[in-house]
């Protein structure tokens, strides 16, 4: 019953993805969300980590395929799987979930049928430093029974939460200190394999 699922994202997974979008303000970016169904409550999907993927040519397959193989392998050994996909559009006023995102989302659903998609909400991100809003700066999209991606309805606010309530305050701090410069994505790794897409030092 996909309609009843709740998605809870950890602060680090959330912040990592948003910082990634800020590092590449002029292009579309995407990322993968890792996690599992909550063992004590199977109507909640816990998103415990994220991997920023690409900031160029998101619609080309080779790098995506390699990234998914490696990500699955790494997190699989920790009992975690791919549970969602994150996308940020190139333009500020583009709030549509595009065809590329939908196709990748469909592919992710083969790994995890209840996978959800998250689209960066640019207006919310812009308003972030000014408000006390604790809700994530992303929109939740779920696949309905006919496999179409739909924006989670008005109750979407309660279906997608950040585990740590102060996450947006922490994010605002990081934005002021330009922490996005430290984020490494899979594109960076492929250009220079010394760069680690796991970002182990990011939140230390």
């Amino acid at each position: 019953m996909v309609a009843e699922l709740k998605y809870e994202i950890s602060q680090n997974a959330y912040i990592k993805l948003v910082l990634h979008t800020l590092k590449h303000k002029t292009t579309a970016v995407n990322g993968i969300l890792l996690g599992r169904v909550n063992p004590q409550n199977d109507s909640v999907v816990e998103i415990t980590d994220s991997v920023p993927l690409f900031h160029s040519n998101l619609a080309l397959l080779p790098s995506l395929e390699i990234a998914l193989i490696m990500i699955e392998e790494h997190y699989g050994s920790k009992g975690l799987g791919i549970v969602g996909y994150f996308h940020a559009n190139e333009r500020f006023d583009d709030a549509e979930l595009g065809i590329v995102a939908k196709n990748i989302g469909d592919h992710i659903c083969r790994y995890f049928p209840q996978a959800a998609m998250f689209l960066l909400d640019n207006k919310k991100l812009e308003a972030l430093p000014m408000g006390k809003d604790q809700s994530p700066v992303m929109q939740l999209y779920i696949r309905d029974a006919s496999k179409n991606w739909k924006l989670a309805g008005p109750d979407g606010g309660s279906r997608f939460v950040i585990k740590e309530p102060a996450a947006n305050a922490v994010l605002s701090d990081y934005i002021s200190s330009e922490k996005w410069q430290d984020v490494v994505d899979f594109d960076d790794h492929l250009d220079d394999i010394k760069k680690d897409w796991l970002n182990p030092e990011l939140f230390k």
């Binding site: 080779p62 790098s63 490696m70 790494h74 492929l190």
Partner: protein
């Protein structure tokens, strides 16, 4: 388009300036030469020179080039007042200048006044119909307003006249890819490879597009272009090495059960795999395990 050595040089200079080691003017010149987009830094360091009368006069006639560079960087960072001031200074010095007129047009763009910018550019084009920069600003405006099909149309028209503009071909290819119009993107990369056959980036991009298109013939060609990329980059390009492995695996899957007349020699793939393992062992040791199991899963 910037090579790895050029990028390293630029980053080194940038770090030096960031850490108070001087060299701001050198950095700004290099950014200009390489045509990279580092607007926040350009704005910061450019302004620090322009706002210091001693430093400014030390530039001599280059002062005006800096005004232009800072104006554009300011617009990119949405610091429109700074941009306006720079343009005012330039107008004072060069009152009839078309080049400054272009900046005026860009300022209108930055404000989102699309119709006015369109008018400004059209009038500039009347006097100089072959101004490439303005033609491309019109494409950029279409893209910024979300009119992607308009951008494609304008860019195609532009390329009919200025077919040697490699950046424009690349931009068109990337727009096509973003719309999943891979065949059209492939055509653009073919044009680029024809005119600049020794630039590995085009071979790599072409191979990526062909792989995405799929089908036996495309996969076989894709493998050839990953191989030529490896050749042109002295075997150091991770994406190309991985590409060879991906192609071999995909070709194997597609031709399963079919009568393989030309047997794929496994040498290329095993050489690529060995090169990758060596690279990872040296530079990304902790990821070596992931690489080997990825390669194993590809050898289906």
């Amino acid at each position: 388009m910037v090579s790895k050595t050029e990028e390293t040089q630029l980053n080194r200079l940038e770090n030096q300036v960031d850490n108070g080691g001087g060299g701001a003017w050198e950095y700004l010149c290099l950014v200009r030469k390489l045509k990279v987009r580092r607007s926040e830094k350009v704005l910061k360091y450019g302004l620090s020179i322009l706002n210091d009368p001693k430093k400014r006069s030390a530039l001599g006639p280059e002062e005006w080039t800096l005004y232009e560079q800072v104006a554009i960087a300011a617009m990119d960072c949405q610091c429109l007042n700074v941009a306006k001031d720079c343009i005012k200074a330039l107008l004072k010095k060069f009152p009839e200048s078309k080049r400054v007129g272009r900046l005026d047009g860009m300022l209108l763009e930055a404000k989102g006044s699309w119709a006015e910018a369109e008018k400004a550019y059209s009038s500039l084009l009347e006097d100089n119909p072959l101004d490439q920069v303005i033609h491309k600003r019109k494409v950029a405006m279409a893209k910024a307003q979300g009119n992607i099909s308009g951008a494609i149309e304008s860019l195609n028209k532009y390329l009919e006249i200025f077919m040697a503009d490699h950046d424009a071909w690349r931009e068109l290819a990337e727009i096509y890819v973003s719309l999943q119009m891979y065949k059209q993107a492939a055509f653009c990369y073919e044009e680029l490879i024809l005119s600049q056959p020794t630039v590995p980036l085009y071979h790599l991009a072409y191979a990526d597009v062909l792989y995405t298109l799929g089908g036996l013939e495309n996969l076989q060609t894709s493998k050839k272009y990953y191989a030529s990329t490896i050749d042109l980059t002295g075997g150091k390009n991770t994406r190309a090495l991985l590409g060879v492995c991906l192609c071999t695996s995909a070709i194997g899957q597609v031709s399963k059960g079919k009568n393989k007349e030309d047997k794929e020699s496994p040498e290329l793939q095993s050489l690529a795999a060995k090169a990758l393992e060596k690279e990872y062992r040296q530079k990304a040791d902790d990821k070596l395990g992931l690489l080997t199991s990825a390669l194993r899963s590809l050898k289906i």
